[in-house]
């Protein structure tokens, strides 16, 4: 019920993002979703890709600091209030969102929300109980 995400450390200098995506493209790795978090001094690129271990390996080989973490992917109908219902459930359970990002799938009917909660097990249980659709890594990549 968890999706593997890779995170890459980004120093604030030009061309780094292009370099990372270039490395992934050269190795035939498909990016399904991404977000960049940044501060004044550095950034963190978070990626969901089809071949997690390959991506991690090739980025490391190219000198990047790479980490692997688990996130939760929730599929909701792409309509007003979709995200709000998920967040309401999380809040009711006392869960904190460390970060999140979202994308809309190809058919355009559903949105996929990627979450990192402070307590991942509790989050999965709460979301399942509230009957949200939680996607596996394969499902995310198949969208």
């Amino acid at each position: 019920m968890r999706v593997e995400q890779i995170a890459v450390f980004l120093e604030n200098k030009s061309g780094r993002l292009a370099e990372i995506t270039g490395v992934l493209a050269d190795n035939n790795i498909n990016i399904r979703a991404l977000s960049v978090a940044d501060t004044a001094d550095f950034g963190i690129l978070r990626l969901i890709v089809d071949k997690v271990d390959d991506a991690k390996k090739v980025l490391k080989e190219n000198g990047f600091t790479v980490g692997k973490t688990n996130v939760i992917a929730v599929e909701v109908p792409d309509r007003i209030g979709g995200l709000a219902t998920v967040l309401k459930t999380a809040e009711a359970e006392g869960l904190n969102v460390e970060y999140m990002y979202a994308f809309v799938n190809k058919s355009g009917e559903n949105a996929v929300l990627i979450f990192r909660f402070d307590d991942m097990d509790k989050a999965i249980a709460a979301l399942q109980k509230a009957q949200f659709t939680i996607l596996s890594g394969d499902q995310v990549c198949a969208l």
Binding site: A7, L10, T39, D41, F42, R46, G63, F64, T65, G67
Partner: protein, 432 residues
């Protein structure tokens, strides 16, 4: 003999006072401090071997390592009951360098500092604005007692709160400013910001030390504050401020208070003493200190000794303004910083790689230090706050150990240049 007489003695007279004091010192240190005795025995030299000032060369050197090895009080020559004060400065690997003073030492220190101030024309009629930091650092209290020794009025304002300092200078009529050169410039710039001009103040002379400064900086201080700016030299291992001082007439160099501190210049590679006029590492032997005398202390400062007479009439030898260091010590806002200390902090933070670099800049008049740290997989996280906590932790620990606020910059792995042999740990962009 009063100090005006001592300072103008013909050299042979002064040298006989020095030799007499040196011989007594060497005997006392040999008999009372085991580490000194051990080093002298190892070098095969006995106190009785010191028959002339030239025999000084037979005595072993003392270094910061000796101070560290005998931390905190191992090199004191008197029981702690007789020690009335200690000061400390940062050491090379985390342990501070600790020095102690008897009541007589404090008096002697006040007298040399007072004499140093007198060289800049300070008298009991002056209002002395002392912006050196009070505390473990010798600057604040050392300067304070020296000004009191002359009977001047001291304003113990210490560092910081710059706007208030300007108000005090104006309202109290400060005539003498004691501050690091960079803080003096900071005061000048803040004055301009708050609309106080040098004409609003009674400042006449500034006495600046504790960090390296150039002739350009001197001109800037003099122009912006409308004062005469002079250089003072000292280090806690020898006593604190008051070891050497520029007089108002000197066109070159600072008079060493030679009746208490015996200077030498040695070749930085062979450690052989060099004649007057040649540049090398400055070495000091204290002649009269009781609690913490020191023999042939290697300062790592580069200078020259000038024996030619000075326009002021003093016969005290002059040391040239310090032009550099023989080691990698940095002085950041008056605080001594060794790259090894930063390394020590980083090694204590779990997961941090030993690859780092210090970047030193001068922004406006203040030194800034950034520590560049490579982000390894061990410390990396997908969450911003984890990395920010890491930089804060390093910052706090460096501040705790060194007393210097620095920026911590996370960089990608392998971006810090790996050099063959000695790593280049420091990039100093300051134009001194």
């Amino acid at each position: 003999m009063n100090w005006e007489e001592i300072e103008t003695l013909p050299r042979p007279g002064l040298e006989s006072i020095q030799l007499n004091r040196l011989q007594k010192l060497v005997h006392r240190v040999y008999e009372t401090v085991a580490p000194y005795k051990a080093k002298m025995d190892e070098a095969g030299v006995k106190p009785g071997d010191i028959q002339s000032l030239a025999d000084l060369r037979h005595l072993p050197f003392t270094t910061k390592d000796d101070l560290r090895d005998n931390y905190p009080f191992g090199l004191f020559t008197v029981p702690m009951d007789e020690v009335v004060r200690v000061h400390a400065s940062s050491g090379t690997t985390g342990k501070p360098t600790v020095v102690g003073y008897t009541a007589n030492d404090i008096q002697m220190w006040a007298s040399v500092m007072g004499r140093a101030l007198a060289m800049a024309g300070v008298t009991k009629s002056d209002m002395v604005h002392n912006s050196y930091g009070y505390g473990l650092f010798t600057g604040g209290l050392g300067a304070h007692y020296g000004a009191e020794y002359l009977g001047a009025t001291v304003i113990p304002v210490s560092g910081g709160n710059t706007k208030r300092q300007i108000t005090i200078m104006r309202d109290f009529g400060s005539t003498v400013l004691l501050a690091t050169p960079s803080y003096a410039l900071n005061l000048a710039d803040t004055m301009a910001d708050v609309g106080v001009s040098p004409e609003d103040l009674k400042l006449r002379v500034g006495i600046h030390g504790a960090e390296p400064w150039s002739e350009n900086m001197r001109e800037e201080v003099e122009r912006k504050l409308g004062i005469k700016a002079v250089d003072i030299y000292g280090l806690s291992e020898v006593i604190g401020p008051g070891v050497a001082m520029e007089c108002l007439q000197s066109d070159h160099g600072l008079h060493v208070l030679e009746d208490h501190f015996l200077p030498e210049i040695v070749d930085p590679d062979t450690f052989e003493p060099l004649p007057y006029g040649e540049a090398g590492e400055l070495v000091f032997t204290t002649l009269t200190k009781e609690a913490f005398p020191i023999i042939r202390y290697r300062t790592k400062d580069i200078s020259r000794l000038i024996v030619e007479p000075c326009g002021c009439g003093r016969t005290l030898v002059r040391m040239e303004k310090v032009t550099g260091r023989t080691d990698d010590m940095l002085i950041i806002r008056g605080v001594n910083v060794f790259p090894s200390q930063v390394e020590h902090v980083l090694m204590g933070v779990e997961g941090v790689e030993p690859h780092y670099q210090l970047e030193v800049n001068r922004q406006g008049n203040l030194d800034t230090m950034s520590v560049l740290v490579e982000v390894s997989e061990n410390v990396f996280s997908d969450e911003i706050k984890v990395l920010e906590n890491l930089t804060k932790k390093i910052q706090v620990e460096i501040k705790d150990l060194l007393g210097v606020t620095c920026a911590v910059k996370l960089v990608e792995p392998r971006t810090i240049q790996r050099s063959e042999g000695k790593a280049q740990r420091v990039i100093d962009n300051r134009k001194l």
